[in-house]
């Protein structure tokens, strides 16, 4: 990312949110995507929590990679170092949320610790290292990807509440199968964005 003019940032944002949406075309972060999208307010809460953690994680992992792993040439330990950072961050956010915003904490319930196993968070950190982004672009990339995740999970929660409210679904398809098929259609939609080339 050479010159960070507004144009490149915009292109970067559209690319991360629409074209290579982390859930719908890169397949990362599906567990909470299906788990938390029953109600749209918990979905948004989850999206915000993931955005916050991804932003924080990208800063800390960038720091760890540049100042710890490279000088000691321990690049092969990047996975462990990153996942340690993410797990600690999630636990810190969980404790903070429990104290400061108990309502959101209770609503997210089991899915907050599941963010640690959210492939999207680790995936983003690993990709920004692979692509060799500098500090600002790796932060932007993480935040935009998280916004893409939030957008996808929010739209999906609207679809799911619509499915549950009005359509009657055959017994075998109730619950997750119908949501998976709805996700397939949503993923078709997002495939259309591949035509956008920046």
């Amino acid at each position: 990312m050479e010159t960070l003019s507004f144009g490149t940032i915009l292109a970067f944002a559209v690319n991360a949110i629409l074209i290579e949406n982390v859930v719908l075309s890169q397949f990362m972060g599906c567990c909470p995507f299906f788990g938390v999208s029953k109600k749209s307010d918990t979905a948004l809460g989850m999206g915000m929590a993931v955005t916050f953690i991804m932003g924080l994680a990208s800063i800390v992992t960038y720091g760890v990679y540049q100042w710890v792993l490279i000088p000691l040439d321990l690049e092969y330990l990047e996975t462990i170092a990153f996942i340690l950072v993410i797990a600690a961050l999630v636990q810190l956010v969980e404790l903070a949320l429990k104290k400061l915003i108990p309502a959101l904490y209770n609503a997210l319930g089991i899915y907050l610790p599941l963010i640690t196993t959210n492939c999207a968070v680790l995936g983003v950190c690993l990709t920004s290292v692979q692509e060799g982004y500098n500090f600002l672009s790796s932060f932007l990339y993480s935040v935009f990807t998280a916004l893409g995740f939030t957008l996808a999970i929010w739209i999906f929660s609207l679809i799911r509440t619509r499915i549950e409210e009005t359509c009657d679904i055959p017994r075998a398809f109730q619950g997750f199968p119908i949501s998976l098929i709805a996700a397939a259609l949503l993923s078709f939609g997002f495939m259309g964005f591949n035509g956008l080339s920046f």
Partner: protein, 200 residues
């Protein structure tokens, strides 16, 4: 829990992918071909067994506060180990699985089994739980992989199937993964409700 129950639970009644719906990311992404699916399944099983055993050995020493952080580090350790060994000694599988080996770390099944089972049971049951849950994961992944390969690229294990007909390349794409898995889980739910003498 006798071993037979664990076998039954791991593969059918409590299958991590079809019933518990865990580990969706690798399932949808690597099940484009049968070989990839089996490769992913077996490497995940290897990591699952080792991490279950080690975590159940250490369960008395890990305090509650850093429970998740400690389990994740152990799992990540085994994954990087598997990554190195695969790249050094089994290079062909490594090329096919590419980015998905590091993502086994965040494969929800492993942490879920570590958290809900290994940290509460002794070593032998944890070993079998890891083995059967891993096999259940590979079993579900293999079915999905076969279906997607036949429909998506018209081949099975690389051999061309129906001659000239252009395959539905949709199934090789991410969206096809969702679709395939959706119908697979519907079938699993249908079978399990029918087995319990389904209410309707």
């Amino acid at each position: 829990m006798k071993i037979k129950d664990q076998f039954n639970a791991g593969l059918f009644t409590d299958n991590p992918v079809l019933i518990q719906l865990l580990g969706m990311c690798p399932t949808l992404a690597t099940s484009t071909t049968l070989i990839n699916a089996i490769g992913m399944g077996l490497s995940a099983t290897f990591v699952l067994i080792c991490s279950n055993v080690l975590i159940s050995l250490l369960r008395k020493f890990i305090p509650q506060k850093i429970r998740i952080a400690a389990y994740i580090v152990i799992i990540a350790g085994f994954v990087t180990l598997a990554d190195m060994l695969l790249e050094a000694y089994f290079n062909s599988i490594y090329n096919a699985l590419g980015v998905f080996i590091p993502l086994i770390v965040v494969n929800c099944i492993i942490l879920a089994r570590a958290e809900s089972f290994a940290s509460k049971n002794k070593v032998i049951p944890s070993f079998f739980d890891g083995l059967f849950m891993g096999l259940g994961f590979t079993f579900a992944l293999a079915i999905l992989g076969a279906v997607r390969e036949i429909l998506g690229s018209g081949t099975i294990l690389g051999f061309k199937l129906f001659g000239g007909i252009a395959p539905l390349s949709l199934f090789a794409l991410p969206a096809g993964g969702f679709l395939g898995l959706g119908f697979l889980i519907a079938l699993a739910q249908h079978l399990s409700t029918r087995k319990k003498g389904g209410s309707e």
